[in-house]
Symmetry: C2
Amino acid sequence: MAMQIKKPSQGRQKIAITKIPNRSNLQVTFSKRCAGLFKKASELCTLCGVEIAIVVFSPSNKPFSFGHPSIKTLIGRFLSPSPSSFPSSTYSTSSVPQEG
Amino acid sequence: MAMQIKKPSQGRQKIAITKIPNRSNLQVTFSKRCAGLFKKASELCTLCGVEIAIVVFSPSNKPFSFGHPSIKTLIGRFLSPSPSSFPSSTYSTSSVPQEG
DNA sequence: ATGCCTATCGTTAGACA
DNA sequence: ATGTCTAACGATAGGCA
């Protein structure tokens, strides 16, 4: 008889970066990756002494946020930059001019 | 004569998550990790169909931002949530109640 | 500062508890 | 939904161009 030997784990699988069709799978992936994103942000804050604000609207449209030091402070500074460090404009995801 | 054989690369080194003392090294790490953070955010948007806004103030205090669909839209929604999806309050990095 | 390169480290897909 | 486990995938430290 064909006895199936179950492999203990195939480890991480490669996935395409397209919308996950399965709802519960999407939920699990969201939780894991959102946590991963916030961890990366936290590390970047510590390593480089920078300030970061993140807002994520979940699949259920609930806001998750990360802020160091304070998300509201950073939003305020982003919306109305202080004249001393005035950028030419707000940047988008795309390329950004070199650092000072 | 003591001929030094240079290793081609030691690959990625383990580093402690503390402020990087060397200035130029910090700058390089910032660039790489900031790009990595934005890429992760982009993937999360695509995979899970969610909306994300990120603002990073660089070591030189310049604002770098990521926004999908639009960072200003998301900031606005975060600051004044629509009644239909009203959260009890804004959340911080810490734990968040379960998804709907 | 930006890109390429390699070896290695850290993240995470999938399965289960 | 939240944590644990494994193995594989992807990010990235350091070095050089």
